[in-house]
């Protein structure tokens, strides 16, 4: 919530219409004085009144109003979401009308690409009316095109009510940062076929621990495909909508996944596009596994920020992975060996590794050839599925709305 302490600057200016208005007013006063026309004096008085009233109203509104912004906790690139702007009117008797709240939404560039962020607003809402002592809300819808970190703010609160002659505006230093997770695509049936027929990267060590499908994690709303056994009837009755229990899967059905984000030193647009497709595919896969409650997931990143994570595929893990994937960047260095080692190190022999890569599995393109010591190469190569996102094979298993 913003209040006047957080407002760094409050300014009252005359609008363009107000300038015209004042020019006409000066003309009238001049005519009245020069010609001693009392009717023009009255007219001038009638015009001065609204001007002063407008100014007073604007000042009072800004002094007694506060605004706040509320962002959703899950933001995916390419998926519209609501940003709610809430206004609070502290005046006891008078409401406020037509309060314009403008927001600035812009991506934060990496530090090495430091560029000054603009604070010019590019989004906004109009709070039509807030009653005396009450509050009101309005929302705008944002669709962020790319994954990454975005900055919201500052908020500009302005009003010109009632005449539109004087504008009062204040800049509220309220910034929020949000991470847009990778754009989610759609796994096609080809992916399931690939998964089942070739047992892609699966290593099954099933440990059924009881009647339930894992450890209870939380409640969520029911989605198509959920088992009826997961429905939590008491909560559903209370909410009026179906709610299901989520479990941290304890099935040791491990999927090893390597995301290879490689680009040339001077990437072209197609290279960057491939990176986005690869990240999106990885995120979609993680999301799918988390929603379905698949077993374990061993995930390695071969990118500028390499890393390896392994856990039961669930919402918490998915969220963690989305955060990582949102910020990951491609690299021209080859980190594939480390990533491959990481996903195979803690797992039993014969685990299949799925590599989602921006390049093909050819020596010329810097693929698996030559990455491993001679003793490991054969076995590893036999258990690897290489999915080049630039090929038709990738299109058969994955569809996404190209940004």
């Amino acid at each position: 919530m913003l209040n006047r302490r957080t407002a760094v600057r409050r300014r009252v200016t005359v609008c363009r219409e107000g300038v015209y208005y004042i020019l006409v007013l000066i003309f009238i006063i001049g005519g009245a004085t020069a010609r001693d026309l009392n009717l023009l004096f009255i007219l001038a008085g009638m015009m001065v009144g609204p001007l002063l009233f407008n100014w007073r109203f604007v000042v009072q509104t800004l002094r007694n109003v506060s605004v706040s912004r509320r962002l959703p906790d899950r933001i995916f690139a390419g998926e519209p979401f609501r940003v709610e702007i809430r206004g609070q009117n502290d005046r006891r008797r008078l409401g406020c009308w037509m309060l314009a709240v403008e927001d600035c939404v812009q991506p934060e560039r990496p530090a090495r690409e430091s560029s000054k962020l603009s604070s010019k607003p590019n989004a906004g809402v109009i709070l039509g009316h807030i009653g005396a002592g009450g509050s009101g809300a309005a929302a705008y819808q944002v669709t962020l095109p790319r994954r990454g970190r975005y900055r919201f703010g500052p908020l500009w609160v302005s009003t010109r009510f009632p005449m539109g002659l004087v504008k009062g505006a204040m800049r509220c230093r309220q910034y929020e940062r949000a991470v847009a997770w990778p754009r989610l695509g759609r796994l096609l049936p080809g992916w399931r076929e690939l998964l089942t027929s070739r047992h892609l990267g699966h290593h099954t060590e099933h440990h059924q621990q009881g009647p339930m499908d894992g450890d209870y994690f939380s409640l969520r709303e029911w989605r198509s495909g959920d088992s009826k056994r997961w429905i939590h009837w008491r909560t559903s009755a209370r909410l009026g909508t179906l709610a299901v229990r989520q479990f941290e899967q304890q099935q040791d059905e491990t999927l090893a996944l390597v995301l290879d984000l490689w680009t040339p030193a001077k990437p072209r647009d197609e290279d960057l596009q491939r990176v986005e497709v690869a990240v999106s595919l990885a995120a979609t896969l993680v999301d799918e596994l988390a929603r379905r409650g698949h077993g374990r997931l061993s995930f390695a990143l071969a990118a500028r920020q390499p890393g390896h994570w392994e856990a039961t595929a669930g919402p918490l893990f998915a969220r963690q992975m989305f955060e990582r994937l949102a910020m990951v960047e491609a690299a021209s260095d080859n980190h594939l060996a480390e990533a491959f080692s990481a996903v195979t190190a803690g797992n039993s022999t014969g685990i299949r590794v799925t590599v989602i890569s921006t390049r093909s599995n050819r020596p010329a393109s810097g693929g698996l050839d030559g990455l491993f010591p001679p003793g490991q190469r054969r076995r590893s190569l036999a258990d690897v599925v290489w999915l080049d996102v630039g090929t038709d094979e990738a299109r058969r298993v994955f569809a996404w709305d190209e940004p």
């Binding site: 004096f41 939404v105 819808q141 005449m163 539109g164």
Partner: protein, 865 residues
């Protein structure tokens, strides 16, 4: 109703009201009709039904033509004509704008044009109706600005969306960071992709364009949006979740209009406070357009009778006159219509320039005080020691004439300005200041008179002691060869009335009554259709041939008839009556009350006999006022019929007076006297503390009432509207009736006599009817042109002959005097007096019965009529 439609209706109403104000200044209904027609047809056919719009190029071409057309009038030396040309140009431009496709900028242009029209009209108008319409205009303007502002703000929701799309629409990422905002016009012009019909909005409904703003650009912008759609989708897309229309509805339903009305009322109060307190410059040399001196229609120090044309009656104000007791200062009620004497015309000349009445001086009056002083201008005398002194307070509008108007005889009072002078030869009241000084503003003067007694203006004006022109030969100038029919008529009248040996007053009244006899003469202001015999003097022609004329003809003919009988007579021009305002106790005299009547000289004894004993008289005799113009009773009858419309008229006229005195006439001097000095005199700490305490109490009281005030505000507005409608309806009816009268005259219909037009039966007092009935049984009836007083005189003679012992001979005279007071003096009859009249009538009726029931031998004494 959609918000934009509300905006359109507001702007249409605002423009129409502005044009009405302009029309008031121009004294023409054309601007209002033209603008009103364009405003409302454009709202219906252009904005509502989308039938047609004016192409901008065509509109610009027409605007240029209008500009050249108006320039023709603009390059004139007369500033007023220039203002009129500007006003007309504003109307033309406004009409052109109305038929163009609307957007907020155009609404603003229409508003500014309307405001400029009001500015022009404020420089041209002075009437109270202007003030009333101006207040209505102000409230409409505030409301229009408010809804227009809301409309624009609602459109900003589109601006947010479009700005975001356009801003981030480029392929270059850098553009996202460095791109600048488009202007509102750019936004609206490029908002086409938001205007696609059928586009599903985020709220699930059909998202339409915000009004008609972007409709014209929809196709082009839609095409460009389609081609760059893929590019757009790479960038941030921001959309509002509520449509402008829905937002507008939300705001409208939140009491916006009520809020606007309250703002409007507060602003009006503020405007008046500012108006009264803002210091004025002392601007005696400046001259406004509307305060220019006007020539009085009908009044002139020289009258020409040869113009056989139509005289237009004007409703322009001439003066306001109120009467107060000179000693106590209490308002003094005058019954009947006062005659305000202006100029005295004695010299009748005919020549190449036509027949003209002039003042006795051979040298025309000039505006120069020094020159007039040289021709015996003298200050007013002090009043005689007379208990019936009445003070006349007159506020005279700017006139080109040097004359002042008053009920005569006049005397100086302590409040009389020093520059009020009397012309010793013409007995005309004049103002001593120069025309340049006087012409700018109103002129106020106060003088006392002895010409009012018991609320009634005396018929005889005693001569003042210093008048030395009694033997002016012009007063008897009469050319018998020039007026043969007139002279013969006068002699016949005297013979028929058997007043040959009677007093001058009786002869004069007999001659006057000759013109008043119903059907004998016709009163008309339109002489254009009269067949005039050019070889005959116009007065002779009037009496001998056409018998149609206005007051100047009647007065001229009576003057000549009196002179033909050797009675000194002269013509007087001035004003008769006026619109009495019971609220402010004053007469509002308009141009159309200008009048000409006759004064006949009576010797001292006759003058004294004509005056009540307690009235002031003069040893030099007096002037008997005679008004030969028929129709004199019309206004009097109207006065007696005070209906609710008259009350409304009074209120409006009083408001008009206040408007004139304290709005139009608020000069630096008056502001100092009426506002600053009273405030300064009370500006002690104690008074301020008291005032502040009162204000606090008032504030609390207002707060308590504000919650209940919403309905009251509506009622007040409705009442204001109703009063406005009544006022304008009344004015309209007056104009229509005047037009109807003129139309009737144009078609040659004779004007009926006042008696025929308005039967007097409803005005006649019953006891007088009983008197006439009783006398009728004795065959004593009122003859043609005979007044009730003359009837009473005749009846007294006959009753004295028929029943000397009954002592009822004087009863008719007493009853008639009472009748006069009730009938023409508008006096209430007190109960004792009513009983006395009843007794008199009863005794008279008994006497009549006795006379009728006498033995046949005495029947020969009955009168033969």
């Amino acid at each position: 109703m959609k918000l934009e439609r509300i905006v359109q209706v507001h702007i249409a109403a605002l423009a129409t009201l502005g044009a009405v104000l302009l029309g008031m200044g121009q004294r023409s209904p054309t601007p209002a009709l033209l603008t009103g027609f364009a405003a409302f047809t454009s709202v219906i056919f252009s904005d509502g039904l989308n039938w047609f719009y004016l192409n901008r190029l065509v509109a610009n071409v027409i605007a240029l033509l209008a500009l050249f057309f108006s320039l023709n009038d603009f390059f004139q030396t007369d500033m007023r004509a220039q203002l009129l040309a500007i006003g007309n140009l504003l109307v033309y431009l406004q009409v052109l704008l109305f038929y163009q496709r609307k957007n907020p900028r155009l609404y603003w242009q229409l508003t500014v044009l309307s405001l400029l029209q009001v500015v022009v009209s404020a420089a041209l108008s002075v009437g109270l109706e202007f003030g009333l319409v101006l207040m209505l205009y102000a409230v409409t303007a505030f409301s229009s600005l408010a809804v227009l502002h809301v409309h624009r703000e609602c459109l900003r929701t589109i601006e947010f969306s479009v700005r975001s799309r356009i801003w981030h629409g480029g392929e270059n990422w850098l553009e996202f960071l460095t791109g600048d905002f488009p202007t509102l016009t750019d936004v609206i012009d490029k908002a086409g992709d938001f205007a696609r019909p059928g586009d599903e909005g985020p709220d699930g409904g059909k998202r339409r364009a915000a009004g008609g703003v972007a409709r014209g650009k929809a196709d082009a912008a839609g095409r460009s949006a389609k081609t760059s759609r893929s590019a757009l989708r790479r960038e941030v897309i921001i959309r509002p979740l509520v449509s402008p229309a829905k937002l507008g509805q939300q705001v409208l339903s939140s009491g916006l209009l009520k809020q606007s009305a309250m703002i409007g009322l507060c602003t009006l109060v503020f405007a008046f406070v500012l108006f009264f307190t803002a210091p004025r410059l002392d601007s005696s040399t400046r001259r406004s357009y509307q305060n220019r001196a006007t020539r009085v229609v009908g009044f002139s120090s020289e009258i020409s009778l040869d113009g056989m044309c139509r005289i237009l009656e004007s409703s322009d104000s001439v003066m306001r006159a109120s009467f107060r007791d000179a000693v106590s200062g209490e308002p003094y009620r005058v019954y009947g219509e006062p005659y305000f004497r202006g100029a005295i015309l004695t010299e009748y000349r005919t020549g190449a320039t036509g027949a003209v009445w002039r003042q006795p001086s051979s040298r025309p009056l000039t505006d120069s005080f020094e020159v007039r002083a040289a021709v015996a201008l003298r200050p007013l005398q002090s009043p005689p020691s007379h208990r019936g002194l009445v003070r006349q307070d007159v506020t005279l509008q700017p006139l080109n004439e040097p004359a002042l108007f008053a009920i005569f005889p006049v005397y100086a009072s302590p409040q009389t300005p020093e520059d009020v002078r009397m012309h010793s030869r013409t007995e005309q009241l004049l103002c001593g200041t120069t025309a340049e000084e006087r012409v700018r503003g109103e002129y106020r003067y106060a003088i006392v008179t002895t010409g009012l007694l018991g609320g009634v203006q005396l018929d005889v004006t005693p001569l003042s002691g210093r008048t030395t022109d009694l033997l002016d030969p012009e007063l008897l100038a009469f050319d018998a060869e020039r007026f043969p029919t007139l002279k013969e008529t006068a002699e016949n009248v005297i013979a028929s009335h058997q007043v040959g040996a009677a007093s001058r007053a009786d002869i004069a009244r007999a001659l006057r009554d000759h013109f008043l006899y119903p059907g004998a003469y016709n009163y008309s202001l339109d002489l254009s259709r009269i067949l005039r015999r050019r070889e005959v003097d116009p007065i002779e022609d009037f009496v001998a041939s056409h018998h149609t004329g206005h007051c100047q003809y009647f007065a001229s003919a009576l003057v000549m008839m009196l002179r033909s009988q050797g009675i000194p007579a002269r013509m007087v021009v001035g004003f008769r009556g006026g619109e009495y305002n019971s609220l402010g106790d004053y007469y509002h005299v308009l141009q159309r009350h200008a009048h000409a009547w006759v004064e006949a000289y009576l010797p001292a004894d006759e003058a004294r006999a004509e005056l009540p004993p307690e009235a002031h008289s003069s040893a030099l005799g007096g002037w008997l006022r005679l008004d030969p113009t028929p129709g004199s009773d019309i206004d009097r009858a109207r006065q007696l019929q005070q209906g609710w419309m008259d009350v409304v008229d009074d209120v409006l006229d009083y408001a008009s007076t206040v408007w004139t005195e304290y709005i139009l006439g608020l000069t630096a001097k008056r502001q100092r006297e009426s506002i600053y000095e009273p405030v300064a005199n009370r500006a002690t700490p104690e008074t301020w503390a008291t005032t502040l305490a009162r204000l606090r109490g008032l504030r609390q009281w207002l707060r308590a009432w504000m919650e209940r005030l919403s309905m009251l505000v509506g009622i007040v507005l409705a009442a204001g509207l109703a009063i406005g409608l009544i006022f304008f309806g009344r004015r309209w009816l007056t104009v229509v009736s005047q037009n109807e009268r003129r139309r009737r005259w144009r078609w040659g219909r004779n004007r009926q006599s006042p008696v025929a037009v308005r039967p007097t039966t409803h005005l006649t007092v019953l006891f007088y009817q009983r008197l006439e009935a009783a006398l009728g049984r004795l065959q004593i009836t009122r003859g043609r042109g005979q007044t009730p007083r003359e009837l009473a005189s005749r009846a007294a003679q006959r009753l004295a002959e028929l029943a000397p012992q009954a002592a009822v001979a004087l009863a008719p005279s007493r009853i008639v005097e009472t009748f006069y007071r009730v009938r023409f003096g508008a006096a209430e009859l007190p109960e004792p007096e009513g009983r006395a009249v009843e007794n008199e009538l009863a005794r008279l009726e008994d006497a009549v019965r006795q006379i009728i029931e006498r033995p046949p031998g005495e029947a020969s004494k009955h009168p033969s009529h």
